[in-house]
Structure formats: C-alpha cells, structure tokens
C-alpha cells in the first residue's frame, strides 16, 4: 500500500544501469510494433498526436493554397482567373478545411499529444478510441479532396445555408460530400474530447489536485466539454437533417411542407459560435506556459485565468443568434444576445491583462515563441474590438456578411489561434522531435507573418464598410474596390512566403537542428521532466506533484510513484478531485481494429450518399469490428485484484 502520511518514505537509490534496464523494459512494453504494420496498428498517443498535427498542418497549407487562389481572383475587378462555379467550390472548401480539417483537429491534436505528458500519465485514457478518431478524420480528409478534384467539391459555403444547400437548389452530390465530411470530423473531435476529459479527470499524477492542473490542460479540458455539447448540434443538422432532406426527402427545411429554413441557422450557429472558442481557448492555453517560461515568472492570476476559461465557455453557448441579426427574429431576443456578446469580452480581457502583468513583472527572453505571443496580443486585441462592434445589432446589420466580418474573423482566428499555435510549435517542437527550431528563420517567419496578416486583412475592414459583400467571385470596376483588394492580395502573398519559411525551418531542423535536452527552456511543466523526444512510456517513474510548477520546486529529491507493472501496460488511476492513487488499469496493446472500424465508418457514411445498401454493408462490417475490438479488450495479463468497496487510499 502507499506510504501513510507523516512517516518519512524511503529514498530509492537507482544506479544508472538500473535506470537503463528499467527504461529498456518499459520501452519494449509500450512502444508500437515496428514496420508498416506497426504504423497501421499504433495506439501510442504521441504517434497518433504527431500524425494528427502533421495532417492538420498539411490541411492548413491546402486551405492556404485555396485562399491564395481566391486572393488572386479578387486582386483586380472582373478577373476571369476563376469562374463562379470554381470560386464557390474553392471558398467553400477553404472554410471547411480551415474550420473542420485544420483548426479543430490541430487543437485537439495538441491536447492528445501533451495532456498525458502534462498530467504525468503513461498514456491517454482510451488509446484505441484515440487511434480510431485519427483514422476517421483521415478518411474525411481524403474523401473531401478526392471529391474536390473530381469537380464534386461542396459549393454552398462552409455554413451550407438551406434552402440553397437543399436538394432543390444544390443538385448532384456536392453538398452531400460536405454533410458527410462534417460527420467524420465531428466523430474524431468527440473521440478526442472524451479522451481528454477522462485523462484529465482520472489519470493525473498523484498530488495534482484540481487547483494544480496546468492552464494548458485546463483550456483543453474546458474545450473538450464544449466539443461534447457543440459538435452533436452540427452532427444533428448535417447528418440527421440536411443529408436526410437530400437523400430520403424529409422536410426539415422545406417551408412548403412545414419545414423551416431558419431552423438550420439556429442549429448550425449553436455549434458554429462555440466552434470559434473551441479553436481559440486551446491557443490561450499555449500562451500561458510560454509567457511564464520566457518571463521567468509564475503567471499572475492563475485562478482568474481558470475562471476566465470556464466563463468564456459558458457565454460561448449564448451568442449564436448574433450570426442571425439580419433575419426576422424578435428585437428583445437580439438585445439579450448583444449583451452576451459584449460580456464575453470581459474574461478575454482579464486573460490579456494577466499575461501583460506577468511580462511586466518578469525578466523577458525575447525568443520566437514570446514574439508570437506579442504578435498575438497585437493582432487579437484588434479582432476582439471589432467583435465588440459586431455585437451591436444596429452596426451588425451593416457589417454582417461583408468583408468587415471577413477581416474580423481572420484577425480573431489567425491572430488569436494561429499566432499562438506557431509560438507553440517553436516552444514544443523540441519535445516532439528532440531538436530546436532555427531561431533566425523563426524571427524572419514571425515578422513576415505579422506584416502579411495585417496587410492582408486590415484593408478588408474598409472594403466591407464600402459595401463589398462576402463570397463574391468578382466585382465591377465601378465599385472602386480594386486598389484595396490588390493590397490585400499582396499581404496574402507575404503570409504565403512566411509560412514557406516555417516549413523549410521545420524540415531542416527536424533533419539536423540543434539537439535539445529534456528541458531546453527551463520550463515548469511536467512534460519537460520526460526526455525529448518523450519515450513511449512517457515517464520512467510517475512523478508526484507538490505545486503548480513542479519543475520549479526548490526541492532536493523528486517524489515519485513506484510499483507500476513492467510486464503489462499498466497506468495509475487517481481520484477525480485531489488526485490520490486509487487503482491500476491495464491499457490495450497495439490493435488494427481502430483502422478497420474507421474504414467501415467510411463505407457507411460515404455509401449513404449513393445507396442505402452500402450503409447496411458498412454496419454489418463494423459489427465484426466491434466484436474484434471487444474480444481483444477483455483480456488480463497478470494478477487481478478486485477493489474493496471503499477506496484503498482512504487513509491518506
């Protein structure tokens, strides 16, 4: 049993070779199988996370290329580079890619990779579910892009407003592709969310009580809960309503038979607005550790930051109608949503103030990650302020669906999410690859990106107020929108250049960058206690946490947990609130079933577009998969001990 309180526990003196032997055993126990097969059956949260991050980044590049095409088309009036048909497919794919295939998966991927490391766990709660999520997402990615090249790219906007996206006005299978793609990404996001929640609740290192959880993990946890309540909405709308309307002629959105076009907007934005914060809160989670590390100081207002996260999440579900101010809905309702939309600025403001205060009272090292944080503050505050403007019903009726909104949302998402993300790349790249990213190229990347973003998006505010609507494939010279559009396009080129620099930097550094030790920045988080790149078992000994900044504790000997099995994949389960050791759980070995099931999902959902029979086939096949999954799951290697009704560690 665990050592009772008071009595001084023994110090384990581990000689170097003992350590080496233990780590070798654990490595053999936890690593994925070698070779191609091993790649298909991997369940290690780090392999999955790495794939997720790389795939999502490729999607970022794809979406960027689409953006570049649009900017090229709009660079001058009545340009004929793209026709309306191509333009509509491209802007729809751009939005869909950036929201569903880049932003959300990238943020959840960072969680999948780092949450277990940051809470000091050997693995994520449900490794096979995790792998299943990735494969499902990959099926979606391939599906969308094959269809785009087959001239079947969705063309009704990433918001797919009915009735335009309905059967009567979107013939063919283009919108069906969109509807099913959403289903894939939504399954993947939910899988990741459940994983993050359970990992955070039940697998934290002993001593990491709720008030010691790192802010990165807090952000991921809050976002996981938002995903659980937001994603089902879009799934309901796209799969159970829109796809049904198109395939089997239900009448959810057909006014002639009692359906309602506005119902779609309610459902979609009930997901769509929280979506913004699902992308944005994890980014705030990146900022805190970066600020702490590079100002050599514990963050000001930990509690305030946690509460800000939670209140933001709550408000986020009360804002959706501010996307519908131009529709015929009651004035009173509108004012309520105005109030909510303005209130949400408060928690965000608090966070910004806390970080500035931290830097103000710290000793700064202006490394690239911190530069990106400064760029984030500069860019994002602008987006936040235009956001407050848009909360006003009167003004929103002018700016809604114009380039002003385009500017606003890019300031918020590029400034608020992508900038911190790049900062996070520079900060955590060593932990993933064991090597540092080049600083010089990094600084070039930062400055070009900052300039590009502002040159590209600032003029759009003016364009919108000068009456340029969104989603137009061209405009007449007489409108006088030409010059500013040209400027914006030049800015877009600059962004493209800076991202290219980053790709070069990443590839080059991964090949032969400067090797980083376990903790290159002198940070405080548990993830830096593991070697870089982190071994398959994460920690040789599960650490015991005694403060919010474990690695900054001025203690002689680090308290650890011993006694975890070295013959089966055993993880430590702790109590939900104060993280006391509670029980052990055997984790599954590598498995092919996640991939198999994901492919069955593909058959089912993609098939549903063409014929119901494929749905039956898919379901039948997945039954086999579920059986196999369960069969390999119900296995125990080694002795089993059944819990007595009361928690074993009650005495602690």
């Amino acid at each position: 049993m665990s050592a009772p309180r008071g009595q001084q526990p023994a110090t384990v003196t581990l000689a170097g070779d003992d350590l080496a032997r233990d780590s070798a055993t654990l490595e053999a126990l936890w690593r994925d199988c070698p070779g191609f097969w091993g790649w298909l059956t991997a369940v290690d949260h780090k392999s999955i996370g790495k794939r997720y991050i790389i795939t999502a980044f490729l999607m970022f590049l794809a979406g960027g290329i689409e953006a570049a095409l649009m900017r090229a088309q709009l660079a001058r009036p009545e340009n004929t580079l793209l026709g309306p048909d191509q333009y509509n497919q491209i802007f729809t794919t751009h939005g869909t890619t950036m929201m569903f295939l880049f932003a959300v998966p990238m943020m959840t991927a960072m969680g999948i990779y780092f949450v277990p490391l940051m809470v000091g766990a050997r693995s994520i709660a449900f490794p096979r579910l995790n792998a299943f999520g990735y494969w499902t997402y990959l099926v979606g990615v391939v599906f969308l892009y094959v269809c785009l090249f087959a001239n079947t790219g969705p063309d009704a906007g990433w918001f797919a407003y009915t009735p335009l996206s309905g059967p009567a006005y979107s013939p063919g299978h283009r919108v069906d592709v969109w509807a099913q793609l959403v289903t894939f990404t939504e399954i993947a996001a939910l899988a990741a969310a459940v994983n993050v929640i359970v990992t955070t609740f039940k697998m934290r290192a002993p001593g990491m009580s709720l008030n010691r959880i790192p802010l990165f993990v807090w952000a991921q946890l809050v976002v996981a809960f938002m995903i659980v309540f937001a994603m089902p909405a879009v799934a309901t709308g796209s799969t159970l309503m829109l796809a049904a309307d198109r395939a089997v002629n239900t009448h959810w959105f057909n006014a002639a038979e009692g359906g309602d076009a506005l119902l779609w907007q309610h459902i979609f934005w009930f997901f769509g607005h929280p979506e913004v914060y699902i992308i944005f809160l994890p980014a705030l989670g990146f900022v805190t550790p970066i600020v702490e590390t590079f100002s050599r100081r514990k963050v000001v207002g930990y509690t305030a930051l946690v509460l800000a996260n939670i209140t933001t999440a709550f408000f986020a579900f009360g804002l959706w109608v501010h996307h519908m101010f131009a529709t015929p809905i009651p004035e009173l309702g509108q004012s309520l949503f105005t109030a909510a939309s303005m209130l949400i600025a408060i928690p965000t403001g608090v966070q910004i103030f806390c970080w500035i205060a931290t830097m103000w009272s710290g000793r700064l090292r202006l490394a690239t990650p911190l530069l990106f944080v400064l760029g984030f503050i500069f860019t994002f505050v602008n987006g936040g302020i235009t956001g407050v403007m848009l909360a006003s019903v009167a003004f929103d009726k002018q700016a809604h669906d114009t380039f002003f909104v385009v500017a606003h949302l890019h300031y918020v998402l590029v400034g608020g999410a992508v900038m911190p993300l790049f900062g996070a790349f520079y900060y955590w790249f060593p932990k993933i690859t064991g090597r540092l990213l080049g600083e010089t190229l990094g600084k070039w990347h930062f400055w070009l990106f900052l300039i590009g973003v502002n040159v590209a998006f600032f003029p759009m505010h003016v364009l919108g107020l000068n009456g340029m609507p969104r989603r137009v494939y061209t405009y007449l010279a007489a409108t006088g929108w030409g010059p500013l559009n040209l400027v914006a396009s030049l800015g877009a080129t600059t962004i493209a250049l800076s991202v290219l620099l980053f790709v070069i930097n990443a590839v080059w550094s991964w090949m032969g960058g400067a090797p980083a030790g376990a903790d290159p920045w002198g940070s405080s988080g548990l993830e830096w206690a593991a070697a870089s790149p982190a071994p398959s078992y994460n920690f040789l000994h599960i650490p015991v946490v005694t403060s919010r900044h474990p690695l900054w504790d001025p203690i002689a000997e680090r308290p650890v947990v011993t006694g975890l099995s070295t013959t089966r994949r055993e993880v430590l389960i702790t109590t939900t609130f104060d993280a006391r050791p509670d029980s052990l759980h055997q984790h599954p070995d590598a498995s092919i079933w996640p991939l198999y099931l994901a492919l069955c999902m593909g058959v089912t959902f993609i098939g549903s577009i063409f014929t119901p029979y494929l749905v039956l086939v898919g379901l039948a096949l997945s039954l086999i998969g579920i059986a196999g999954w369960g069969w390999t799951g119900t296995r125990a290697s080694g002795p089993e001990r059944v819990a007595t009704p009361r928690p074993v560690t009650e005495g602690l």
Binding site: E257, G259, D260, A556, E557, G563, S583, V642
Partner: protein
C-alpha cells in the same frame, strides 16, 4: 538528475474497480451525454417545427398508433429487471449469475428490437409526407440506432462469457453495459411520450 524518493508504492492497488472509479464508466458516461444531448436537440427542433402548424399533427395527418409502442415500452421497462440483476451479480463477482442474467437480457432484447420495426410504422405518417413526419421518424430512427448498438453490445458480451474464460474486469464491463442500458431505455420514456402520446395532447 535529481534523486528520487518513493512517495507511493502502488503495486498493491486494485486493478478491477466499479462505477466512477473505472475509466470505462467515464467513457460510457461521456457517450451517454453526447447521445442524450443529440436527442435533446432533435426534440427541440421537433417543437420548433410544431410552431409552423396550427394543428399537430398537421391537417389530414392521422394520430400515431399507440398499441405497439405501449407494448414495447412495457417490455423495455420489464427489461430493467434482468439488466439490473446482471449488474448486481457482476458486483458480487458471481459468474454463474452474471451469465444467467446476461442471457435473460439478450433474450428480452429480441422482441424489443423486432417490435421497433412496427413501432416506426406506428408513427402513421411517412417521413417524406411533411415536416412532422420527418421529425418523428428521425427521432425514433436515431434512438433505434442507439438501441441496436446497445443490444449488439449485450449480445457480444454474453457470447464472450460462453466462448472464453473472462477476466475479473469483465465484471466491471458488465456493470457498465447495464449502466448504458438504463440510459437507452430511460431516454425512450420521454421520446415515447412526445412522439406517440404528444400529438394527442398539444
């Protein structure tokens, strides 16, 4: 590196736990929340569409039939008994009893599944007739998919118990399976009231 000090030796901690102490329980709970929330959204949409009509069900649309759904509801409520007993037996680690009650649960699941087919047609309006029909069909249809999943789960588990030597932690899985069944049947009660009884009321 710093010297290490053993704070906890966990080698003796239990490996089989029930309820909120087991990971699987939390996972199950997570998916219950997701599915329950989806049904809540569907029901909200059902009432949203209801505003577009004076009469509900709409003019010249018959009431849903009550006979089959009521019978099936009764069977579902009865099914609580074997499922509950299976959970109790599992917590008592009584394998024989677990097998017995799992078989009972699997058997009672069969008529539920078969009656569900006629239950769909008992809505008495096709999904492509009007928005009312669409809403009713989609709600019941979605619940059917949950039912299928849960029954497949139960049958699989039962099968495993007879096919191989199950580890002790399978008892915990059995308890979670019952837990999920409570949810699937529990959520059906409001759906039954809204979709089948509702049109006669509002």
């Amino acid at each position: 590196m710093k010297a290490l000090r053993t704070e906890f030796d966990v080698s003796e901690l239990p490996t089989v736990t029930f309820g909120h102490r087991s990971l699987m329980w939390w996972g199950t709970l997570g998916f219950m929340v997701i599915e329950g929330w989806t049904i809540a959204l569907l029901v909200a949409s059902y009432f949203y569409l209801r505003q577009n009509y004076e009469a509900w069900p709409p003019l010249r649309t018959p009431y849903p039939r009550l006979l089959i759904p009521t019978i099936n509801l009764a069977i579902m409520l009865v099914s609580f008994v074997p499922v509950y007993r299976a959970a109790v037996a599992a917590k008592r680690l009584d394998e024989a009893a677990v097998k017995r009650w799992l078989v009972a649960s699997s058997v009672i699941a069969l008529p539920i599944l078969m009656l569900r087919w006629w239950e769909l047609w008992a809505i008495n309006t096709r999904w492509d007739t009007n928005a009312y029909g669409s809403a009713a069909w989609v709600i019941v249809g979605f619940h059917t998919s949950l039912l299928l999943l849960d029954i497949a789960d139960t049958w699989g588990l039962t099968l495993f118990y007879f096919l191989k030597k199950m580890p002790l932690k399978a008892f915990s899985d059995t308890a979670d399976n019952s837990f999920y069944w409570y949810f699937t049947v529990g959520i059906w009660i409001p759906i039954y009231l809204i979709v089948y009884v509702g049109p006669r009321v509002f």
